[in-house]
């Protein structure tokens, strides 16, 4: 399927790169769950450093697309490439996911028995980082999301926005090149949601990550470089302006 998108509001030269230089390349991807066609022949390129918003009605395939890009699921047809490589088709997807991708979900999914610092350390344990370095890194990340003074607090002692910030810090623990956020502001009030969006964009600017956000939030769409709308498993919105990923 051809790629469509709305015009980027903050154009960047990197967004005009060829598909071969794409941070994420979705090539004719389909995914079925039983008789339900969640995605149908979707193609999409996301440039390095781009902030892409994905929207669509409930059941349109947004989260399925995000899960496929992040290697949490496998397509029935087509191919996903990260930095030009079909990493999820190779052995050792755990290592690739750790090094390439950070996830933020609508529900923060923090471990309630661990404090904020320990929650941020969890991905670092998976990477085999020694305890001392883990601790320092987790504290740096909490500082980065303005939660340095909440490091020893349990999730139950934090507000919804603070929990989501901890989840963002956890997603950044292994310095991923790609941040995938599935409705990260969906469970937050508008003020807190705005702060989270601001945080994600700030981190993108600081780290140069590629960010894909599944969201209904108009502010996300407004502030993203590009928005893709999915309808019944296909990209629906007619193109407005240039396709930054150069797909199609």
């Amino acid at each position: 399927m051809l790629i469509y998108g709305i015009r980027s509001r903050k154009r960047d030269d990197r967004l005009l790169q060829s598909p071969s230089g794409a941070a994420v390349s979705v090539e004719d991807v389909s995914r079925c769950f039983g008789t339900i066609q969640a995605l149908s022949h979707v193609s999409l390129n996301v440039a390095p450093g781009e902030v892409l918003a994905v929207t669509g009605r409930s059941g349109s395939g947004k989260s399925t697309l995000l899960n496929l890009i992040g290697g949490l699921d496998h397509p029935d047809g087509g191919r996903i490439r990260i930095d030009g490589e079909p990493v999820w088709e190779r052995p050792g997807t755990g290592t690739a996911r750790r090094e390439l991708v950070g996830f933020v979900f609508q529900q923060h999914l923090l471990m309630s028995e661990l404090n904020a610092r320990a929650n941020v350390e969890v991905p670092l344990i998976g990477a085999g980082i020694p305890a001392g370095r883990r601790r320092r890194r987790a504290l740096e990340l909490l500082d980065e999301v303005d939660l340095g003074d909440r490091a020893e607090h349990l999730p139950s002692m934090l507000s919804g926005g603070e929990r989501q910030r901890v989840a963002v810090a956890r997603a950044l623990a292994n310095s991923p090149r790609l941040l995938l956020a599935d409705e990260p502001t969906g469970a937050l009030d508008s003020l807190t949601a705005s702060a989270i969006v601001e945080l994600l964009l700030r981190l993108r600017d600081r780290r140069g990550m590629t960010v894909i956000i599944v969201s209904y939030d108009p502010e996300v769409h407004y502030r993203a470089n590009r928005t893709v709308t999915l309808l019944d498993g296909s990209i629906a919105r007619p193109t407005v302006g240039v396709d930054p990923g150069g797909g199609g």
């Binding site: 290592t95 996911r97 996830f103 661990l114 969890v122 991905p123 344990i125 998976g126 990477a127 956890r170």
Partner: protein
């Protein structure tokens, strides 16, 4: 990782306690039964060492060595064999003391070799129809020097209290052989002959020589050999093994069930760990680590309860004379191994579930 293991265990205290309980039940049963059967084997082995002999000569083909019956006329034939330094006839009379039927009465010459090998802790060697009582039996019967003990309805004065170091003897009473033959109605019969081997001879060699010279006898010196020959010990040991296996199966079911439930409850957590880049092997090691930690807690409780239970069981069955629970380091080590095996076995199913479960389904709760 250790912090996560500790946090997970403390967070689900009820489930942790239930899992540990399953392990503890298995460990307790194994430790108690191993202790009791070990003690039983040791007691059976004590028979061969009565009178601090090198070996004992018994009637062959019996399932219970305490039922052995030999004519006392063969004592001289045994004594005449090359390599035999001394041959002491002993009669064992069970159930002769009504106050505590587990106490054995030994018929032997208290002033002979047997008596000389007993260490008197109070009193003196007996004369006439006096008896000696072991320290264990004296305690059980509240007997003291100068008092009396009733054997087969007849009172005998206590001349002394001895300690031999052999549990079976220390929990017994020694009367002159002629007296026990009379009160048991088995005149001319003995139960065994305690044989000491002369210097320069090997025990086994002398044992085989006696068996060849006097057909129908059985010479036993090695305690483990006694336990093997004694059918009762074997039956009890086998029964104990069956009970232990059943207890282990029960414990395993509890552990597998609670750990499987735990994994189902924590599916989202494991999914999240996969999402943040934990390999399946590392997730599996977290589950195994928790299982080992819970198992160690359960095993520690099981060891203590097992040691206590073995004493209680023996006490409740009034079997202290025959069985002194042998809670050895090897028994405890086996208890710990059983506990770890239970926990790890229980965790294997959970590990398998986690390894099979797709990440996406887990993370979506």
């Amino acid at each position: 990782m250790l912090a996560m293991i500790a946090a997970n265990m403390l967070r689900r205290r009820g489930r942790t306690a239930l899992t540990a309980l399953g392990v503890a039940v298995g460990v307790m049963t194994v430790v108690a039964l191993l202790s009791v059967t070990g003690g039983l084997s040791r007691s059976a082995g004590d028979l061969a060492k009565l009178g601090r002999a090198d070996f004992g000569v018994f009637q062959g083909g019996l399932s219970d060595l305490t039922a052995s019956s030999l004519p006392d006329s063969i004592v001289s034939r045994v004594a005449a064999q090359a390599g035999v330094a001394s041959a002491v006839p002993i009669q064992i009379v069970p159930h002769a003391i009504a106050r505590d039927s587990s106490i054995l009465v030994f018929g032997a010459n208290p002033n002979g070799i047997l008596g000389r090998r007993l260490v008197l802790v109070s009193g003196r060697l007996p004369r006439g129809q006096q008896l000696l009582v072991g320290v264990g039996a004296a305690k059980q019967l509240h007997a003291a020097v100068g008092g009396t003990i009733t054997v087969s309805g007849q009172s005998f004065p206590v001349a002394g209290i001895y300690r031999s170091g052999i549990s079976l003897e220390d929990n017994g009473v020694v009367l002159p052989l002629a007296v026990t033959q009379r009160i048991s109605g088995r005149t001319g019969a003995i139960s065994m002959i305690a044989v000491s081997v002369a210097p320069g001879y090997r025990d086994v060699e002398v044992e085989r020589r006696i068996e060849r010279a006097i057909p129908g006898t059985l010479s036993l010196g090695d305690p483990s050999e006694v336990a093997r020959v004694d059918t009762n010990s074997r039956v009890i040991t086998k029964a104990a093994i069956i009970i232990a296996v059943l207890a282990l199966l029960l414990g395993a079911v509890v552990v597998v069930n609670t750990m499987a439930m735990s994994v189902i409850e924590r599916r989202q957590q494991f999914g999240l760990l996969a999402v943040v880049g934990w390999s399946r092997a590392r997730v599996a090691s977290l589950i195994l680590g928790e299982a080992i930690a819970v198992s160690l807690v359960g095993a520690a409780a099981g060891l203590a309860l097992g040691a206590l239970a073995s004493e209680l069981v023996v006490g409740a069955l009034a079997a202290g004379t025959f069985v002194s629970p042998a809670v050895t380091m090897w028994v405890l080590a086996r208890g710990v191994l059983v506990g770890l095996a239970l926990g790890v076995t229980g965790a294997l199913f959970s590990v398998w579930r986690v390894m099979q479960g797709p990440t996406l389904r887990a993370i979506s709760g």
